[in-house]
Subunit: 328 residues, 4 copies
Amino acid sequence: MRGNTFGKMLSMTSFGESHGPAMGVVVDGIPAGIPLSPTDLQKELDRRSPGKSAGTSSRKEEDGAEILSGVFEGKTLGTPLCIVIKNKDQRSRDYDPLKETFRPGHADLTTLLKYGHRDHRGGGRSSGRETISRVIGGYLASLILPKLNVWASIIKMGPFKTKPPLKRPSLGPYQFADPSQEENIEAFLLDLKEKGDSVGGIVSIKAENVPMGLGEPCFDKLKADLGKALLSVGAVAGFSYGLGESFSDLTGKELSERPPHFGGMEGGISNGETLELQVVFKPPATVGEAAQKGRHDPCIMPRACVVLESMVKFVIADHYLRQKAYEF
Amino acid sequence: MRGNTFGKMLSMTSFGESHGPAMGVVVDGIPAGIPLSPTDLQKELDRRSPGKSAGTSSRKEEDGAEILSGVFEGKTLGTPLCIVIKNKDQRSRDYDPLKETFRPGHADLTTLLKYGHRDHRGGGRSSGRETISRVIGGYLASLILPKLNVWASIIKMGPFKTKPPLKRPSLGPYQFADPSQEENIEAFLLDLKEKGDSVGGIVSIKAENVPMGLGEPCFDKLKADLGKALLSVGAVAGFSYGLGESFSDLTGKELSERPPHFGGMEGGISNGETLELQVVFKPPATVGEAAQKGRHDPCIMPRACVVLESMVKFVIADHYLRQKAYEF
Amino acid sequence: MRGNTFGKMLSMTSFGESHGPAMGVVVDGIPAGIPLSPTDLQKELDRRSPGKSAGTSSRKEEDGAEILSGVFEGKTLGTPLCIVIKNKDQRSRDYDPLKETFRPGHADLTTLLKYGHRDHRGGGRSSGRETISRVIGGYLASLILPKLNVWASIIKMGPFKTKPPLKRPSLGPYQFADPSQEENIEAFLLDLKEKGDSVGGIVSIKAENVPMGLGEPCFDKLKADLGKALLSVGAVAGFSYGLGESFSDLTGKELSERPPHFGGMEGGISNGETLELQVVFKPPATVGEAAQKGRHDPCIMPRACVVLESMVKFVIADHYLRQKAYEF
Amino acid sequence: MRGNTFGKMLSMTSFGESHGPAMGVVVDGIPAGIPLSPTDLQKELDRRSPGKSAGTSSRKEEDGAEILSGVFEGKTLGTPLCIVIKNKDQRSRDYDPLKETFRPGHADLTTLLKYGHRDHRGGGRSSGRETISRVIGGYLASLILPKLNVWASIIKMGPFKTKPPLKRPSLGPYQFADPSQEENIEAFLLDLKEKGDSVGGIVSIKAENVPMGLGEPCFDKLKADLGKALLSVGAVAGFSYGLGESFSDLTGKELSERPPHFGGMEGGISNGETLELQVVFKPPATVGEAAQKGRHDPCIMPRACVVLESMVKFVIADHYLRQKAYEF
């Protein structure tokens, strides 16, 4: 009830503060007997790690995941998997001035209001580092549906805009949907960093090979659960599917004349087509001198793409297990 | 797990098919001893009833709510309230041709895929009539926080656009945020109806006097639970808060120079400011001859406003009870 | 969170006060397309109805169940079933003297402590009439596992004792496991009633054809969920399985030499053998003049048997759906 | 849904196999700002550790608890606490012969049936070592209600019997309610061990200073949730409260003439009196040569007492938080 558990048949319980001993997650509901690849998991974790490119944070995180339970002889046991990553690079001195500082747009003040005290050294539970748990959860969820193909790509970042790709593209480190812009984006981000400025944007997420019939008719519509999952990610400020805001520019007749643009769901239930989702990111609130000095990304979207994909995979796998229970 | 229950400390369990005997809801978690006004409840139900104005459906619903439990001598007992509304005007003959028809954008096909059979007479569980339960839930939730002030107003409908009002406006039957446009909107909708066309748009929802500290740091951020609640409403295709998509047009510095536009939440936790939310509606999928003949609204937003308000009230009251449990 | 919902994949949400307009239940999670028999449901309801025999309460209840949702053309739709029974025979005047009376062993005082006010006319939510919901839930659960065979029989009632039957017996109205004692029991109960006294006892419940592998290894062991289900019934004061308290009289070696007496569960998971459960009932707390005059049973076990069976069926069906989800 | 999470407002998610890298638990819902004592936690863990006395298992466990999250400067943060204990003494060779062995009364066979494969080296999730999580959970729960006083004592072990103590006794290592018998019990257990035999018994658990009004009227009665909690512990085969099975020996009048024996609950809700609970333990199923050689306790009750207390504390703290939410 403190909101650290997500999912029903497949659930993940996240724990860890950014400057505590470790981050981690307990994932319950993975069926027994599925082979696990620590290498594949690490690849996913590396995608959210900072320091992969010039325009992202230089914090060194060394995300070495340790599996504490749920696996025997390389396969899942059907019991909960606890996977932990130690916080090696704590450097808490960096954060001392923040003791009396409440950064606007962060959880600093609201955390204090809510709990009465807080770990002032960093974001605590509200740190972006919390998303490690989500990436682990997403990797494990993907084991349930091996054909599921989910990919996120950035379609708007500051002045850069492009269209959502129709097929999974091969993306560069900035995860921009038009890879020819990667160099320009790097220059743009380095410039922002130098200025102590930041930028948000829009990410497209698509999911192919989603089984038909997922999602429940009333409150747990697939679109609602996907929306919650993605809106629970730190800087996400908006979610839509299909044509999104453009739905409001068309009449019903105009819409009916276009190729199907229901975004893969009708009545909130998957129809077998590709899911088409979009999320809006706020620009990071840390700007000015703090942003120039610190280990802050001027744009967090490149590192967030794997987190978004993970949440989508998790929701789909959870609904898949739910649906399986009721099939007679 | 079939997704007919929403909320944790305060929960509503919805039931009923559009052409079955009744629609209803069981609301559990309302504290004991709170006076209840059937008149106020009926007023809210009337706001979603069809036939209130020329541009809305002519179906006569007579939403007379019957309280089956949870109230004694005019006050809540602390036990679950079951409230039921009979489906008086079933006229199932209207729907016979739909037996072999699967309306695009509706749940017709996905329901069949999911369950193997369905009630072809109407939307079944996926009918807009299901939102009766939500309006009842929202009314009961509002009893917990009497100062909470939530209002929805339409800010985009086809060619009509306006800004979200700063204070609760006095709205006409079409719930447009600029009431001076009501006559034009009526003409527009009557014309759409005649053509068998339909239209979507954007609704702004604001919530004043939201207690500080609501929402949990990780998965149950207030923005995530509000998003899920609103995206679970039939035709809603997008959700955002604060500046919404415009967040992606500003740099962090530009944003920091504007008056606070975090939409009432920081780190996913309410900060005491007014919540600012927006949702996007698809145009209704029923168009052409079927829309001309039938009892279909060319635009469902006017009747949906009370449903959106209800969901927002419910989420806030649920989080309020959750937070109360942990305050020491 | 007010404890009116039971079960996970299969859930029932109970509502209604004994002297309010109606009792009822919403059952969610019944798969689609299963034929339903209102006659069979009524038979089960009749088993818990008072007035069936001389030794049980004379209150006339006319439990006519009304199905409000979830059924179309005689089959389940996969949507929630709401089933309601009106409280026709309220006679609230009988209960007026109870306004200032707190019956020991009842929920009267604890309800007032908990909620601040109460419906003094009867037990409110804590009335035995609440078990109507459970009987409906148990009937619907049994549709999921048609071969499941659950039966309860009384093995101790005051001075009467017998052994748990090995096969489902044909029982008389007092549900005593040795039907040859039915006449003596009737005389005994009529005598108790005349004296204003009451009696408890022990009920054996067996379940044949329980699928193997139900129950989860840690907190949701099958024995734990069965225990909770049965202990949630009003007058039940104890639960055990297998040899029950006699387990404490045997050494491990003595136990290993006997035929398997694990009560159908090992490690908390069903092993395919017949489940063997026992529950202890307190004597009803209403005694003396109140018991002589009123509509009180001197022993509630005969009417409770169907309630116990219903709870066992519900738990097994719920765990069956849970297990189905994870089978790959 | 795999049953590794217990509790609602206060929840614990348990993980770990007996021969995997670690056992642990995530406890969510502890309010912020409560001081924590690792020493007190270790004392509780030591009570369930083997090797404390001649008659208990000689396995060396070194239960050094490591706090991975949720604590800052010695106080809780209001975020989830993950606490882990490494499995240092795995000695898996001991268990190799068990690969093809299915011990009756254990989860060996049912685990294989349920999951298709298993960790044959020990009990896996069904090992008694899993109760480490419960002890940690119980310690953390006790921080919420510092006055709550819960104690378990053995009142029957083989030939030894005594009455439940009225006040918290000072117990010896065998936790027998009559400490004068400790020496005889030691001799008895050493003899059992030599013979390769085992024994069960009965444990009394009492809880003083339980707040009034805990427990919900219908399914979540306090007795039902306590029953589930205690029945979820491995070898527990029965649960009762108050007079337990003796309730069936008394008429209602006889009961009404005795001092209050409702076991601290009326209508399933705590009434402010001391809770009186009893649980029945089966004798451990491992007997004969395996029991003589191995690290098996001939009686697990002495080490289980702290586990039972922990579960009772957890249930009471959880219901306390639930009730707090609804108090207006």
